[in-house]
Subunit: 331 residues, 2 copies
């Protein structure tokens, strides 16, 4: 049996394209002691992977040209040479974009398909959910009655942030890129007000949506959308820098109004973070998120593209906002 | 006897000038019950006062045209109608730019001229010293061996920040606007490396001065000087936004590279603050600063201009960096 993998073919200038990726057929790998052979079921495509396509340092080591792209995935154990797993188990972890992977058992986590759909381990119960949970609650520390603004509100992280803000008794204001997404946010998730940043005057719309100013800003997007938030900050505001997706494909440095003067006059805090900063507290986060999910207090959306061959396109689509909620590829 | 006062004559566009101020002779005021008549000895001129000259909100309420300018000052009690003070006492507090002020006893603090020169209550033992103390230690939380970069390093706040960084076992790197100031920082205050931002390539000089990157950045200046710090941030860096003096006289919005991407990839924190956020902890700060001062571990510099009529010029001189350490007017 042959394997297939997607390699990093060339560093993109600007938006990644089909030329960024190369499909290669290889031999099926064999697991060694302590390893398992995995058949990939679902692949998570995430905006942060764009950062790994740059040569410089980002969150994590950059991809080198020729590397197999890797990201979070869900897979089924086909053959096990590790006592922790047996054939048929479903596991999650970081995996290469391959039909079959060999992985160390120690780097995988078994998931229970009875508890929740297995794809939630890539979304609301996985990295995006934990990112929302720790970013909003630990850095943002929202208090009842405060106004929480979320950019990229209809994405995997944003949808969860909006709902946790509501669970904490806050006014949630979502910024997204289509009226359809905003309808979902308001009607399905109970978001109090939404703004389509592609329509008209974002600054004025945001002002109207935040009559008491902004206490917490959860930023997935950066750039001009964030600029519009700054004049509305309240004293002691907290700004969580979770992502800057509007900038990831910029070829040159991002230029705009520096936010420091706004932070200064409002004694405001701006904090960047990466979810691995909270690794020691993941169990707490998963338990809480699963509790809300089980109690029907937390919903999630997924956009599932079918077919391994569509993985690059699913990734590229993140930057034009084609996804509602978590973007996943069903292999 | 006549009194004299300095009023806010017109809102400056750009740099304040003589036209911003108006000298007016008035009658000597009379203290009521619970009040004292004060003869001004020293006036503190501070960069933040520029913010009060704008119509919009800043730290504090803006000056209205026609208002007497006010700031921190040291004065002698000439007549007391309050039990807390008697004639001859030396006090500090917020006062109008006048030869004589009437003030409520409850808004003044008595100072002991035997303990330290009375001008220190406007500098190292006053607002600038406390700003350095709480900003660096509470927000910056520098650890031994870390690198602390200070912009506006030769000012009243910056000189204190540099020395506290050294007391905490850090590498202190100062950025100032003249070689003379930098000699003072290195030779008198023990700063490890300095950069004259008016000379050559600040980004390269900063890189050379910070071989282990930047853990803490105490920013009094903003703008391009701060831009040069961003690429050097270490994981978990803390940026204290204390002032943005390079921008205070800008007529238009400050544009430059937004810092969010740097905060994101380094899990870095940027926090604005105003010293009044720490009002409840002032006694702790003054005690610690006075202890270091008494033990010879903390030095301070003052630039004293003589003559009430030179108060506006002393204020304007802050923006071209004419002062080393605390700028004070001796009335």
């Amino acid at each position: 049996m042959q394997n297939k993998e997607i390699r990093f073919a060339s560093r993109p200038a600007g938006m990644p394209s089909a030329e960024t990726f190369q499909f290669v057929e290889t031999d099926l790998p064999q697991p060694g002691d302590g390893e398992v052979l995995l058949r990939t079921l679902y692949i998570s495509v995430d905006p942060y992977l764009r950062g790994r396509m740059r040569p410089g340092r980002s969150y994590v080591a950059p991809f080198e040209v020729g590397d197999v792209i890797s990201s979070g995935a869900v897979a089924e154990v086909v053959e096990s040479r590790a006592p922790q797993f047996q054939k048929g188990d479903v596991v999650t972890g970081m995996m290469g974009w391959r039909l079959f992977n060999v992985a160390k058992a120690s780097e995988l986590r078994k998931i229970d398909p009875q508890l929740a759909p297995v794809t939630t381990s890539l979304g609301v119960l996985g990295m995006p959910g934990l990112t929302a949970y720790f970013g909003l609650l630990d850095i943002g520390a929202p208090k009842e009655g405060e106004t929480v603004v979320v950019s990229g509100a209809a994405g995997a992280v944003g949808t969860t942030v909006c709902q946790i803000a509501k669970l904490k008794g806050c006014r949630a204001v979502g910024i997204a890129g289509s009226d359809e997404k905003n309808r979902y946010l308001e009607q399905e998730l109970g978001v109090d007000a939404t703004i389509n940043y592609k329509n008209g005057d974002v600054a004025q719309a945001l002002k109207d949506a935040c009559p008491k100013g902004v206490d917490v800003y959860f930023d997935n997007v950066g750039g001009e959308v964030s600029d519009a938030v700054m004049p509305l900050l309240n004293h002691g505001a907290r700004l969580i820098i979770c992502g800057q997706i509007s900038l990831y494909n910029l070829d040159k440095q991002d230029i705009g109004p520096r936010p420091q003067p706004y932070l200064l006059v409002n004694s405001a805090l701006m904090q960047g973070f990466i979810i691995s900063d909270y690794a020691s507290r993941f169990p707490e986060g998963v338990t809480q998120l699963a509790g809300w999910l089980g109690a029907g207090k937390l919903k999630y959306a997924e956009t599932i593209v079918e077919g391994f061959e569509n993985t690059p396109q699913a990734f590229i689509g993140l930057f034009s906002g084609e996804n509602l909620g978590k973007q996943i590829v069903k292999v």
